[in-house]
């Protein structure tokens, strides 16, 4: 069946309510293409969406999906994948969802390295609540809740991931549809937790991190001599602070997903009509 799947099969009949020009359109199209091109179909795909503009993605895509509680999308995704490793699990959210309210879960999902992908629509602003600072906002970024700037360093999500033992760290620009799709495909195909931080500009509330800014600033590491298997080199790029790198910055070729290390296999939904065979041994243990 999967060979007949087109990316439009992942599209729902709901029209997005994102602002015209929002980066999330491109981000979502790339996700749908990547899912279709990696042989998935909506009936074996589970998308978990967070809260915020980005969280609406579950409504606009067609698959099994849950739009959950703010910041908790990753634990939901991990639960889905461990309960049925045959499913393709993709978690999508924004910078607030992933790096502020959900920052704790982000670190631990990275550590656990379950075979799933995490696409973060990073617009460096809170859009749905109409323009407050986000954890990735620049220190001097003036908003309604930070009139003189945030006075805080922005979170560096890729560095945070790498420091937490990430096995796949990538960044894309939503406007570059082809590269974005390629990188998301690589995240899906990676055996482990695939992080894709997407520069997904907010055209309404962020007049600093704009399409023009990113077009000028980004450097695609695939066009440089960067070796994504080299963790030290990846760390240098991620923390150098002067350039917005896109592409696959780090990939651990030897990554073994958590579920394999734990020996989890099979669909946990399938259970007998009564107590499982051998369950009486559990009682006998208490003699």
């Amino acid at each position: 069946m999967s060979s007949d799947i087109r990316f439009t099969d992942f599209k729902s009949d709901k029209q997005p309510t994102w602002c015209p020009g929002c980066g999330d359109f491109g981000t979502m199209n790339g996700m749908m293409k990547a899912l279709a091109e990696t042989g998935n179909d909506p009936d074996n795909t589970f998308v978990v969406a967070g809260i915020g503009c980005s969280g609406k993605i579950g409504t606009y895509m067609h698959s099994y999906a849950l739009h959950g509680v703010h910041g908790r999308a990753l634990p939901v995704g991990v639960g889905v994948k461990l309960a049925n490793p045959d499913l393709e699990v993709m978690v999508a959210g924004g910078d607030g969802d992933g790096y502020s309210i959900g920052a704790g879960h982000f670190i631990h999902a990275v550590r656990r390295n379950v075979d799933m992908s995490y696409v973060v629509m990073d617009n460096r602003i809170y859009g749905l609540t109409k323009g407050q600072a986000s954890p990735t906002s620049r220190e001097d970024f003036e908003t309604s809740t930070s009139p003189e700037g945030t006075h805080m360093s922005p979170v560096n999500p890729l560095a945070l991931a790498l420091a937490s033992g990430a096995s796949f760290v990538a960044q894309t620009f939503s406007s570059d549809s082809q590269r974005h799709t390629e990188v998301v495909k690589e995240a899906i195909e990676h055996d482990g937790f695939g992080l894709v931080n997407v520069y997904s500009p907010c055209v309404t509330f962020n007049d600093v991190d704009t399409y023009d800014y990113f077009r000028d600033a980004i450097v695609d590491v695939s066009e440089t001599d960067h070796d994504p298997n080299n963790k030290d080199a990846a760390r240098d790029l991620i923390t150098d602070g002067s350039t917005e790198y896109v592409g696959v910055l780090y990939r651990d070729e030897d990554s073994v997903p958590y579920e394999q290390r734990e020996g989890i296999e099979g669909n946990m939904a399938e259970i007998p009509d009564g107590a499982p065979e051998g369950a009486m041994d559990l009682v006998r243990e208490f003699y």
């Binding site: 909506p42 910041g71 734990e262 020996g263 946990m268 499982p276 009682v283």
Partner: protein, 586 residues
């Protein structure tokens, strides 16, 4: 009851109190005797006093009582802590050579047995076995065949090799022989053994075993007293049945992990205690509105805040019945005994899936830490029935698609129960959300659809009320003028309190309520009684409030919030004072 023995070992944390107590409990159980255990963790003085207490009889025992017959005291403080329970003729076993025990004074009327526990243990192969020497002494005093202790030691130490088992058995023998030769008191105990086979387990273990029996394959949790035993029980066992245990970074993650697994179709569960429930409350509404079957277990301890983490309380009922913003459809089921922890867990999973609803399984510290004996058939696995509710497969799915061919996970069926398509089911792809949604699971703020969905969720609760039996457990005299109601672990002491009260000619009807939401309609029972008393371990009477609300009538209340469970004799006394106030005034 000459055959009813109350035994304890007490000392400092780290003295091996728990494992020694467990060995003796196991020995009694293997000898076909009933056992009911409790643990003391005093918190009023600094230091780590801890005790493991056993009440044993050939008849079932359901409670602790205010009496202690044999005490192994590793510290002087152990004696002080238990002065109220010790009585004339109580035997205190101690090692006078131990520095902490050199100046010990045995209270008048009690029998102090100074035994060189450490020295005898060294003779058997190592000082570490001194507690086992004391167990040998206890066997002699209680006139309990020491072979049963051998059997328990074998179970405890067999993984460490036969030599260790033999040394321990030898240590017990040296204790027994020393007591036989050196002392000639008339203790008057004669612990009968029977041919019964019992299993010995606590409430947390029963919940874990019930979960596996019920087909639970996914557990996520964050360690917290007194719920950790559920997680530790499942670890290494659930995976033998194709499941897994995930230790989450916090309870926020734990409930969302469990929710994810449940969305994938697994029977899924998390367990925690009050502080964890606080965090999980965030997700209650999502579980309910996404209509996800999930079992959320709260093993209550004394709150609020960090409260008294190792102490008994039933203070979370309002939280479980009402907690969370908005109006959240849910069920609350509360096992009333250790064996019911098993059966109610099985039932909780069935309710969750049949009605696609969060089910709170509420237990308490007393149930969690009490090791109790049962005939193994109490946990008959053949009696476990798994009902998965309206899960639709590929053959059935067509009838649940709308005109556009989209699956309707929140279809407003007349009974409120929608179809469930598990991920992987062809043509079943759908989303759901914590936003109010339509039948397809898509966000909406349409007034009509909002009302339809709210009513649909209420309807399935009403359907459950009609279809299921929300019965109660009844004890005592059904025609008595005095009616006692309780929930949770109070059932055990209350059952024994009935015997004490009957001896005084006070007849009581006792109803133990295992369903808190929905709960049985008790209006007829309360109307028939002259006095209704609600017994619970909290200060505000949360269950009593619910009952008063249900029947629009005031009830009497017996509340205990010291952090210690009710004892049978104490409870009998409190009830006696309520029903016979004049007598007490004299």
């Amino acid at each position: 009851m000459p055959d009813d023995l109350n035994w304890a070992i007490g000392g400092e944390a780290g003295d091996g109190i728990d494992s020694t107590g467990k060995i003796f409990a196991q020995a009694l159980s293997r000898a076909g005797r009933h056992v009911y255990t409790s643990k003391d963790f005093a918190s009023r003085i600094r230091g780590g006093y801890t005790a493991y207490k056993i009440r044993t009889s050939v008849d079932r025992v359901e409670s602790v009582v205010d009496r202690l017959d044999i005490l192994i005291a590793l510290t002087e403080r152990t004696i002080d802590e238990n002065l109220d329970e010790l009585h004339e003729g109580s035997v205190i076993i101690y090692d006078g050579e131990r520095t902490t025990m050199q100046d010990v004074e045995i209270p008048e009327g009690m029998i102090g047995l100074d035994v060189p526990l450490k020295g005898l243990a060294e003779d058997a192969g190592g000082a570490i076995m001194r507690n086992v020497v004391a167990l040998g002494v206890a066997c002699e005093i209680a006139n309990f065949p020491i072979e049963n202790l051998d059997s328990a030691l074998e179970k405890r130490f067999k993984d460490k090799g036969q030599a260790i088992v033999d040394n321990n058995c030898q240590a017990a023998r040296l204790g027994q022989e020393y007591a036989a030769e050196e002392f000639d008191h008339e203790y008057g105990y004669d612990l009968e053994t029977t041919d019964e086979d019992y299993v010995l387990l606590n409430g947390d273990e029963a919940i874990g075993m019930g979960a596996i029996a019920a087909g639970c394959r996914f557990y996520a949790g964050y360690p917290i007293t007194p719920a950790t035993d559920v997680m530790e029980y499942l670890t290494g066992r659930i995976d033998q049945f194709g499941g897994t245990v995930v230790q989450a970074e916090d309870e926020l993650a734990a409930i969302n992990l469990a929710l994810g697994a449940a969305r994938a179709g697994a029977r899924s569960m998390t367990a925690t205690s009050g502080p964890g429930i606080d965090l999980m409350t965030e997700t209650f509404g999502l579980v309910a509105t996404s209509e996800t079957p999930l079992v959320i277990c709260d093993v209550m301890r004394a709150g609020p805040s960090t409260g008294m983490p190792t102490k008994q309380e039933q203070g979370d009922l309002n939280m479980l019945v009402y907690g969370g913003h908005g109006e959240i459809d849910r069920m609350v089921v509360g096992p009333t005994s250790v064996s019911e922890c098993y059966w109610k867990t099985v039932e909780a999973f069935n309710l969750a899936e049949k009605y696609q609803i969060p089910v709170f399984l509420v237990s308490d510290l007393s149930l969690a830490v009490t090791e109790q004996t049962f005939p193994p058939e109490t946990f008959d696995m053949d009696e476990v029935e798994i009902e998965r509710g309206n899960v639709v497969d590929e053959a059935e799915i067509d009838s649940w698609l709308d005109e556009q061919g989209r699956f309707q996970p929140h279809f407003p069926a007349a009974d409120g129960i929608s179809p469930r398509a598990l991920p992987g089911t062809t043509d079943g792809a759908h989303m759901t959300t914590g936003l109010e949604h339509d039948a397809n699971g898509r966000r909406t703020e349409d007034e009509e659809i909002r009302v339809e969905q709210v009513e649909k969720r209420k309807q399935k609760f009403e359907t459950a009320k009609e279809r299921e039996e929300w019965d109660y457990r009844e004890f005592g005299d059904p025609d008595a003028e005095t009616l006692v109601l309780s929930w949770g672990s109070n059932e055990g002491p209350m059952r024994e309190a009935l015997d004490f009260l009957a001896e005084d000619g006070i007849d009581v009807r006792f109803i133990s309520v295992p369903y808190l939401l929905p709960r049985p309609d008790l209006s007829e029972e309360i109307a028939a009684a002259e006095t209704t008393i609600v017994v619970e371990c909290n200060a505000n009477g949360q269950f009593a409030d619910l009952i008063e609300h249900d029947v629009l009538k005031r009830v009497e209340r017996i509340n205990k919030f010291t952090g210690v469970r009710f004892k049978a004799d104490e409870l009998a006394d409190k009830i006696r004072r309520l029903v016979e106030p004049q007598e007490v005034a004299q």
